[in-house]
C-alpha cells in the first residue's frame, strides 16, 4: 500500500505493475528494486537500465538576466556555455557550502533548464524565487517526469526512437520532439555509463516508459542499483558525501569552479573557496578500497595506521562490478594521497583500507570525436 504521506511520480503505477519493491525516498514512493539490486546493477553495466528519476526537481530560469542571475549562486561559467550544452554545478551558500548539486543546460534559446536533487528541490526553488533579481523568472516544471536510460546499449536503443540522439556527445542537451511530445534530452546521467536523461510531460511518462521497455536490451532499474552505480562512478550524493557544510574544494569538485569565475571571485563563498584552493582545505573527499571484512558504510570512522581517528565514511558498500567493498569519505589532505594505507572501523572492528582514485569503475561517457 502507498504510504499516504509520500508523493508519487507519474510512473508509480508502472512500477507496481512491474512488481517493484517500493520505499519512501526523498518524500516519494519510489522503486528500490525490481528483480534485485545486484542483477539490476550488472544489467545496467552490460546493457541498458531504465530509471525513474521523476522525484528530482526540474525548473527553467528564463528572462534577459536569467544566466547572470543564476551565476550569482553557482561557480560555473554559464555565460560562455554554448547552446545545446549542459554543465554540472553547485548551488552555494554564503559560506561556500553546497546547498545542492545540479545540472543546468541550454537546451533551447530560452534560458536554463535545471535539474536538482529531490530532497532539496523545495529549498532550491524557494531560494531562487527569493533571490533572483531583474528579468529572471523561475518556472518549476512539476508537470514533467524524468526518465534516465543508462548503459552501453542505451544509445543504440534510443537511436531507434530518434536518430539525432546518436549525434549527441556527453553533456549535449536539446529540446526536441521525442515519442511525439515536447522533451528535454541530455546525454548524461549519474551511473558512470553512457546514456540519456529525458524530461517528458507527466501525462506521457507511462507510455514512453513502456515504449522504451519494449526493447529487450532494457530493464527497469531501482534506486538501490542507482546508488551502487553512482558510488562506483565516484559521484557524490548530496546530503551524504557533500552537504551545506562542505565546500567544492573539500568535496573534490573543483572541476565545477570555472577559471573565469575564480578570477572574478563573484560567487557565494568565494573567499573561503579561493583560500582553500590556495592553502588547501582541512579535509578532502577521497575514494577508499576496503580490503577486508564488511562493507564500510556512511558513518564508519576512518583511522590512520596508529589508530588515530582522522575522518568518516560518507557513503560506501559493496561494488558489484569490482567484487570488493568501496567507500568515499573525508580525511585530512595529508592522508589523501593515492596509495595511503588507512583503517576503517566497521562496528568497532578495524579493517584495512587504501586511498584509491575515483571513479572506482572507469566511466564510459560518450565523447564525440573531434572534427
Amino acid at each position: 500500500m502507498t504510504d499516504e504521506t509520500l508523493k508519487t511520480t507519474p510512473l508509480n503505477a508502472a512500477h507496481r505493475a512491474l512488481g517493484a519493491r517500493m520505499v519512501g525516498f526523498g518524500g516519494y514512493d519510489m522503486p528500490v528494486q525490481y528483480e534485485g539490486v545486484l542483477a539490476e546493477h550488472r544489467w545496467t553495466r552490460e546493457h541498458a537500465g531504465l530509471f525513474d528519476v521523476s522525484h528530482m526537481g526540474q525548473c527553467k530560469i528564463t528572462g534577459a538576466d536569467a544566466i547572470s542571475q543564476f551565476e550569482r549562486f553557482v561557480p560555473g561559467d554559464y555565460q560562455i556555455l554554448k547552446s545545446g550544452k549542459q554543465k554540472y554545478s553547485l548551488l552555494l551558500n554564503t559560506d561556500g557550502g553546497i546547498i545542492d548539486d545540479l545540472m543546468a543546460g541550454k537546451p533551447d534559446h530560452d534560458g536554463l533548464f535545471v535539474v536538482v536533487n529531490a530532497g532539496n528541490k523545495d529549498e532550491d526553488f524557494a531560494f531562487w524565487a527569493a533571490n533572483l533579481e531583474g528579468d529572471a523568472t523561475l518556472t518549476v516544471l512539476d508537470d514533467r517526469a524524468l526518465i534516465a536510460i543508462q548503459g552501453p546499449e542505451a544509445a543504440e536503443v534510443m537511436l531507434k526512437h530518434e536518430p539525432v540522439l546518436a549525434e549527441f556527445g556527453f553533456m549535449d542537451c536539446a529540446r526536441l520532439m521525442l515519442f511525439g511530445v515536447d522533451c528535454f534530452v541530455s546525454r548524461s546521467g549519474y551511473t558512470g555509463e553512457d546514456g540519456y536523461e529525458i524530461s517528458v510531460p507527466a501525462a506521457d511518462a507511462e507510455r514512453i516508459w513502456n515504449t522504451i521497455l519494449e526493447d529487450a536490451r532494457v530493464k527497469p532499474i531501482g534506486l538501490g542499483a542507482r546508488d551502487s552505480l553512482r558510488l562506483e562512478a565516484g559521484l557524490p550524493l548530496h546530503g551524504h558525501d557533500i552537504d551545506p557544510t562542505t565546500s567544492p574544494v573539500e568535496g573534490a569538485l573543483t572541476f565545477a569552479l570555472s577559471k573565469s569565475r575564480k578570477e572574478a571571485a563573484n560567487f557565494n563563498g568565494a573567499e573561503r573557496i579561493l583560500k582553500e584552493l590556495a592553502e588547501g582545505p582541512s579535509r578532502v573527499r577521497v575514494g577508499l578500497s576496503v580490503k577486508e571484512g564488511a562493507p564500510a558504510r556512511e558513518g564508519a570512522e576512518v583511522a590512520d595506521l596508529d589508530g588515530n581517528l582522522i575522518g568518516k565514511v560518507t557513503s560506501g558498500g559493496p561494488s558489484p562490478t569490482l567484487g570488493r567493498n568501496i567507500a568515499m569519505g573525508y580525511v585530512p589532505p595529508a592522508f589523501a594521497e593515492l596509495g595511503t594505507e588507512l583503517k576503517v572501523l566497521v562496528r568497532g572492528k578495524p579493517a584495512a583500507a587504501e586511498v584509491v582514485a575515483m571513479p572506482f569503475v572507469a566511466s564510459r561517457y560518450y565523447r564525440k570525436p573531434k572534427a
Partner: protein, 121 residues
Amino acid sequence: MKFTKDHEWVSVDGDIATVGISKHAADALGDVVFVEVPEVGKTVTKGDSFAVVESVKAASDVYAPVSGEVVEANDVLGSAPETVNSAPEADGWFARIKISDASALDGLMDQAAYDEYLTTL
C-alpha cells in the same frame, strides 16, 4: 522450526539450537553480500544482536532468539553469503547455540503462527 517476531528461525535438536533468518527476512533484505557470524565460544543473550547480515544497501542486526554459548558458526557464509538468499531456512543458517535456558523457546511462533504474523505487518 520456530520463529521470532524479528524474523529469526530456530531449529532445536536436544539442547542445540540452529539459528538463521526467515525466508521473509532474506527476501526483504535482497541480495546478501556479507554475513558476520559470531565466534565459537561466545556467550549470547536472548534479544541481543549476535550477527550482522548485509545487503547491497544496508546492514541489519540478527538477534539471538535464545541465550547460550555459540558452539558452531556457519563459515560457509563467509565465502558464500548469498546462501542466505538461496536457502535461508536450510544451508543459510548462521550459528548453533547451546541453549542455557530452554524456557526461551516458549514464546516463539510455529510456522502457522509466523505466517499469520507476516500478514499483520
